[in-house]
């Protein structure tokens, strides 16, 4: 009985994921494609849960269904303001790229899927590094194997990832025009004081702050971590700024830049301290838990600030 209902659940879920993906690329309306992308993120998060990967599901729910959707909604609105003259709201429909470009992107996407599928199917039947991680979990300073791998066993990858995020923000900021440099990031945010949005901006952040900090704290023993918590905190900060309750920071603000680099710097500092003690990025088992929490706390702040600024974008080009 359980098997049948689980099978039914999985089949319906798989159909919804495929449908959302297919509709996202076939729907003619650009905004419709963005909404299908958001919905796709929700379904994929549920699929990760069915596979028992709660950490990945948290990330997908926060980033795929959440922050990326917000980014794309803003991008569609900005695009339609740039391309359509004022007062003309009719050309909402996507302008189709030439057939050659569509065919080329289809071939590229199809071959990537094919190669990934082939790689998956040709994987040898093994448990991978699962046993090695389980054997060393006791000295890692974390009871959550995902956190142990991310911050301790494969700390090098995570350190570079945090730098990649910073590089993405530098790349985005370099798109700003010279005379906009140093202004407040993104559009000028405003809302009616006491209106629904401003009220919402006061109501939601306390819960979001609690959830974000909880996810980071819980990440050392349960699913969660710096990336998931940081994404939730980014959403909270964006919400407060969008509700016009807090000004958007200037791109030249020293405090802002300190927060942006705090995570990678703390991570690197602890890594170098480890190098002096013997191993670069090696965490001594006795101090591993406090060190992991320190790294995660600094990373969370940097990830939250970087993601929020990536969503805000470059300063508004209109004076």
């Amino acid at each position: 009985m359980t098997g049948i209902s689980a099978l039914g659940f999985d089949l319906i879920l798989a159909a919804l994921i495929l449908g959302a993906g297919l509709f996202a690329i076939t729907v003619r309306d650009l905004f419709g494609a963005v909404v299908f992308f958001i919905v796709y993120g929700v379904f994929v998060a549920i699929a990760w849960l069915r596979l028992g990967a709660i950490d990945v599901a948290l990330t997908e729910a926060a980033l795929g269904a959440g922050l990326t959707g917000v980014l794309l909604i803003g991008a569609v609105a900005r695009l339609s303001r740039v391309t359509t003259p004022a007062g003309n709201n009719t050309s909402d429909e996507m302008r189709r790229p030439p057939a050659g470009a569509r065919l080329a992107s289809m071939v590229v996407a199809g071959s990537i899927s094919g190669v990934l599928g082939w790689a998956f199917l040709s994987l040898p039947d093994s448990t991978g590094l699962r046993d090695a991680v389980a054997d060393n979990l006791a000295v890692s300073g974390s009871a959550n194997p995902v956190t142990a791998v991310l911050i301790n066993f494969r700390g090098w990858d995570t350190l570079l990832e945090s730098v990649v995020l910073l590089a993405a923000l530098v790349g985005l900021w370099s798109l700003a025009r010279d005379r906009d440099w140093g202004r407040r990031a993104g559009l000028r945010q405003h809302a009616r004081p006491g209106g629904v949005m401003a009220t919402f901006g006061r109501l939601l952040p306390p819960f979001g702050l609690l959830l974000g900090v909880y996810l980071v704290w819980a990440g050392s023993s349960y699913p969660g971590g710096a990336f998931q918590g940081g994404t939730v905190l980014a959403a909270v900060w964006l919400l407060i700024m969008m509700a016009g309750l807090m000004p958007v920071p200037r791109m030249v603000s020293v405090g802002l830049r300190a927060v942006l680099v705090a995570g990678p710097l703390v991570f690197l500092g602890i890594g170098i301290a480890g190098a002096m003690a013997g191993t670069f990025l090696g965490l001594p088992p006795t101090y591993a838990k406090p060190l992991i929490l320190t790294i995660e706390a600094a990373l969370t702040l940097s990830i939250a600030a970087t993601l929020a600024l990536l969503v805000l974008g470059t300063p508004d080009p209109s004076p």
Partner: protein, 114 residues
């Protein structure tokens, strides 16, 4: 019990297929966004059923979904305002002010004529 919870989850997922139809049809952007909110809410329900059926640690995912689905709606409302960063509640006031200006002008002219 697990079977029942999963079957109910499957039923919830089926109801979300209706939301997919609404996103496809539209016709307004708001229709699509409301359908996405329905998927968000249905997703929270499905995750909670899954958590009860398998592992309660999954509840955190429902929390994140609930918070960020509401946030997408805020971003949508912002994007709908004229400059993309305002608040629709500000708009009507200006329009009403503009309208009353236009409505006042003829009466002023009438007073002049009188």
């Amino acid at each position: 019990m697990t079977a029942w919870l999963l079957a109910l989850g499957a039923l919830l997922l089926l109801s979300l297929a209706g939301a997919m139809w609404r996103i496809w049809r539209g016709p307004q952007a708001a229709d699509r966004m409301m359908a996405a909110q329905l998927v968000g809410t249905g997703g929270v329900g499905t995750v909670l059923l899954l958590a009860a059926a398998t592992d309660w640690a999954m509840v955190d995912v429902a929390l994140v979904l609930a918070l960020l689905a509401a946030f997408a709606a805020i971003a949508f409302v912002k994007a709908q305002s004229s400059d993309g960063s305002g608040d629709p509640e500000e708009g009507p006031e200006e329009e009403v002010a503009g309208l009353s200006d236009g409505a006042r002008r003829p009466s002023v002219r009438a007073a002049d004529a009188g």
